[in-house]
Symmetry: D3
Subunit: 242 residues, 6 copies
Amino acid sequence: MSSFERSSARAADQLRPVRITRAYTAYAEGSVLIEFGNTKVLCTASVEEKVPGHKKGSGEGWVTAEYGMLPRATHTRSDREAARGKQSGRTQEIQRLIGRSLRAVFDLKKLGERTIHLDCDVIQADGGTRTASITGAFVAAQDAVNKLLADGKLKETPILGHVAAISVGIVQGTPLLDLEYIEDVGCDTDMNVVMTGAGHYVEVQGTAEGAAFSRKEMDALLLLAEKGISELVTLQQHSLLN
Amino acid sequence: MSSFERSSARAADQLRPVRITRAYTAYAEGSVLIEFGNTKVLCTASVEEKVPGHKKGSGEGWVTAEYGMLPRATHTRSDREAARGKQSGRTQEIQRLIGRSLRAVFDLKKLGERTIHLDCDVIQADGGTRTASITGAFVAAQDAVNKLLADGKLKETPILGHVAAISVGIVQGTPLLDLEYIEDVGCDTDMNVVMTGAGHYVEVQGTAEGAAFSRKEMDALLLLAEKGISELVTLQQHSLLN
Amino acid sequence: MSSFERSSARAADQLRPVRITRAYTAYAEGSVLIEFGNTKVLCTASVEEKVPGHKKGSGEGWVTAEYGMLPRATHTRSDREAARGKQSGRTQEIQRLIGRSLRAVFDLKKLGERTIHLDCDVIQADGGTRTASITGAFVAAQDAVNKLLADGKLKETPILGHVAAISVGIVQGTPLLDLEYIEDVGCDTDMNVVMTGAGHYVEVQGTAEGAAFSRKEMDALLLLAEKGISELVTLQQHSLLN
Amino acid sequence: MSSFERSSARAADQLRPVRITRAYTAYAEGSVLIEFGNTKVLCTASVEEKVPGHKKGSGEGWVTAEYGMLPRATHTRSDREAARGKQSGRTQEIQRLIGRSLRAVFDLKKLGERTIHLDCDVIQADGGTRTASITGAFVAAQDAVNKLLADGKLKETPILGHVAAISVGIVQGTPLLDLEYIEDVGCDTDMNVVMTGAGHYVEVQGTAEGAAFSRKEMDALLLLAEKGISELVTLQQHSLLN
Amino acid sequence: MSSFERSSARAADQLRPVRITRAYTAYAEGSVLIEFGNTKVLCTASVEEKVPGHKKGSGEGWVTAEYGMLPRATHTRSDREAARGKQSGRTQEIQRLIGRSLRAVFDLKKLGERTIHLDCDVIQADGGTRTASITGAFVAAQDAVNKLLADGKLKETPILGHVAAISVGIVQGTPLLDLEYIEDVGCDTDMNVVMTGAGHYVEVQGTAEGAAFSRKEMDALLLLAEKGISELVTLQQHSLLN
Amino acid sequence: MSSFERSSARAADQLRPVRITRAYTAYAEGSVLIEFGNTKVLCTASVEEKVPGHKKGSGEGWVTAEYGMLPRATHTRSDREAARGKQSGRTQEIQRLIGRSLRAVFDLKKLGERTIHLDCDVIQADGGTRTASITGAFVAAQDAVNKLLADGKLKETPILGHVAAISVGIVQGTPLLDLEYIEDVGCDTDMNVVMTGAGHYVEVQGTAEGAAFSRKEMDALLLLAEKGISELVTLQQHSLLN
């Protein structure tokens, strides 16, 4: 197995510097800027006191997500989805993933008939925008729930535990944690893993970009992801202490 | 671990009866009706002697997929996407998955500057439509490539090996192979696995529908999937012999 | 008047072999595969216990149709309407025709405030897809009504009689019944006729593709259509006996 | 057969007063306001020195039509199609009919690689808007062709003869020529007939709104239509003399 | 300051001939054809006995406008917005301006919970279509209100005063009133001014097309506009006397 | 004239604290975060080495703008335009204004056949987002032009001078500079003014929200705006020195 030189002399199993800034904007019930190195995503949580049609009268709430990328978040400008008149398949895939991941740690009955909208908008993209979105959206959702508790609108928290996400991949034969854009482009296998604070899987999405990957390679990747997510959960916890 | 009673006394690690009918319609270069029990998908492969913009002048070809469901393929009628004016996020997610899976076994350089369109249309849906689509689309693609070889348009095959897919899941604590709709609805964890004929992974997409799942559960599911896909590849091979 | 050689030595006033397969799929209240030679259309009838806005509170029901063509139903692949984001003018024209034709033999008062959706999806197209759709949709609608009667949801049938449709046209000077695609492409005049079992007209749509046509030619075409539809009604009746 | 009292003491086989005003607006190559009683349609013909994709390099031209209705052309305001973001099925059906009807009297080879766009916009609607559109569009097209001849862009006319259209219908058992809105709403059978100046059929579209109609009724309607169209062609000719 | 020769020897501070024709079409509650020279706009006012969502239950009414241009209102044909599937930014900007301008002279409380829809459709365009629309829409709205008063649906008028609009601009250094298309194309500064009958501003929209303009130039333009609007209000008053 | 108490004891003719942060994101040729108090807009300038169709082969360049608002930039969440599938009329109006304003200080010939895309995305909205966008977009455009000059792609600057914008309005009788959201909601008259560094007008858009406004009021507003813009231009200059 050859070895791949990462930027900033990062080790293969090392996260990029992660920064979580709460209350980044003023109006949302939860507002978090999360940075994984040069990747920066603004995650807001908005509470709406009604639910979509399929939940009306159920006594249950709903948690949903939308994802967007500013046109010049990337190296070359991409079209604005609002101007093109539709969201790409990639965008929809990502926002569905974020929504499912957050719902996995919510007891919708305890949330009551209200909706938490999670908006994840990428200010700057350098790989891992979907995993940063999930990790940041959890903190924003926690802030929104804390506000509902403080306001007496909720008696007990509907949040069952932490959820966080990281990407892993095999680049030139080396399994790496938390891929940057340049690593993502050149990788053979790319896997996004979403796990709970308790160390269980919420989502595993592995894709062979080049050659198909072996069971042994998957095992190595899952191990890396587990390490990274455990660190991210600790960072979420520290961030929420302040 | 409790045990779950499957329909038709099916064993937990047993595929539904699979039928692959080639040349199901007359005009497509490849046309396959694939049945996984009551799930029936028509997969056609159409060869077009040009490529999309991002491949023009590259000397490489392209393989892409579209997916659709007839409005009454399901127990209750769903809206026709053409009438609503857009494809759902679910539809786009599935057709992107089918496209990536098939490209994983294609050498696009050897295909030359032409496109193979794979259309997977669900006639009847009883769970597993995306995995049936991938498994059937491979056979349709093989037929289309054989026609290109027979017509002298290709000198050697661009197909690197088989690809097939199966769903696995945990229902009431029991890991099951090839979920029917009723099982899919009630499952805690749902995983779609795409593998090559050589036994390597092309895609792994696991989702906790209820509780998050453990590494041990994932291992059990991957084992089941491996068994199922190995059987599907054999069925593809037999089908292509005739 | 010159004479035109048809495929399979078919006579000018002869229908292609017609096959009507009921219960073709499992879930719809009516599900019919109708074949006019190589043209194959799946017609399903779905009962919905509500009506569109313009019928709400009227005590009357509604019968409506949608039409689609699988992308590779035809000799060369056509774009998927769901992917393009809209139905073509041709598609809308056809589904409006199917809807009007079926409503012509329904007593909407007797149907009660419910909707019958007729979905006509072309699996393979060799000319006459709209006439096959109407002829098959009638059988599917009958099956759905029979189910409503059997379930006690209807006391008496809202169906006033049969309806069926056929195309006729003038090819190289010869009036022909039930045009195949190759005949349709080359014809001077193309007429679609929809009639009731009692031999009255529901729709007549004649179009001069090349030269305008005379009254005498129209009379010849109407005669041919009457013969064809009478045979189709008999085939519908036989099919419904089983 | 009972008898129906028409407005303004009109006879059953009598057209409403028809007025054709050429050069109604200043910029179009042909611009005609046509009035059938209270129905008023502005038909413009615009010449564009290029053709759509399917005619490029063919040496042939194209004739096409678009149809629209001002929101308050009707008794109650209808939605603006541009604001709703799509044309209705009815609109598309009508503009396809107008286009086919006009192409029936054009030799596209003689037109050369240019397009004539016919825009038919209904200023006021009292039944028969599609037949007024066709009848007026012919005059606008003739004016546009005359301008091309006068400018030396065409050596000989590509127009093969007149085309005009009228509606006929059976109201309370009486066959009537040129239905007004109130008659159209209450009619059992509605037929639009498009014929050439030479008395041949270009389009016949008959629809049973209530009961299906007999061959004898159709014959009566076709006779009425023939009379009306012959009068319209005379009016077109007189209008073009000035 | 050089001087610019206007068509028809028009003075720099002179309006084009303005004609206001009421009851131009038969069905709308108000229907006005307004002509500013060769610019012709049909303005209809339609009363609907309900209000949009944001006014429901408020006891207040609503006044809104839509704007359209017939495809061949202009020198060269422009695309039909209904066919393209969306209104241009320019169209939306204009219809929002018309709506705001008319609401400025309406007491929405006195209107009661009903909507007045103003449809401004350009039949022929030679500059100034938005100012003609506002000026004509006022007369149509007045007619619709008069009808509501006559029908006893309103006890007192909700109209607070006149509103009218005109364009002014600087062409080759000369400030001009009421620009024609040819002047508009070549102008350095273009300003649309909307004023009440009492001489107050409702909207001022000035744009430097070429060089930025000075305060002195703006003052000259505002003076011209004031003169023009005062004349237009007189013309509205005369028109409403008949 | 009564007096209105502003937040933070701001004087009537005082700007909110303005902050201009260049190089806010890493990839764009110009990237500016501009803050007018709590209003925060990210303005990026992206250079593309091609021009839209209407400029092809002209030797001239193009400058264009797009505007967006993050869903939770505002007090209550608004729908994401990309998800709704179209940009609102307000959005289009604003981005057209930004584009025109910036083009007013560009010599498009000197820019050469390339496009500068200005993307203005509102992170947080407290009134004045369009004027902050224009003021910030100028700085981003200047940075992008400086880069083109530094890279030798331009020999001389195509920028003719500064452009900046501010809102003014009359609140409870008092003319105020730089309205906050709460002031904007309650104001009688709202005016957005765009001026060059040389003190000439590029755009003036005044709207009577409540009562129409007098010439004297307009004069007071224009004076305020002139003062504010002169201060903004100084701030732009200081920002560009660093």
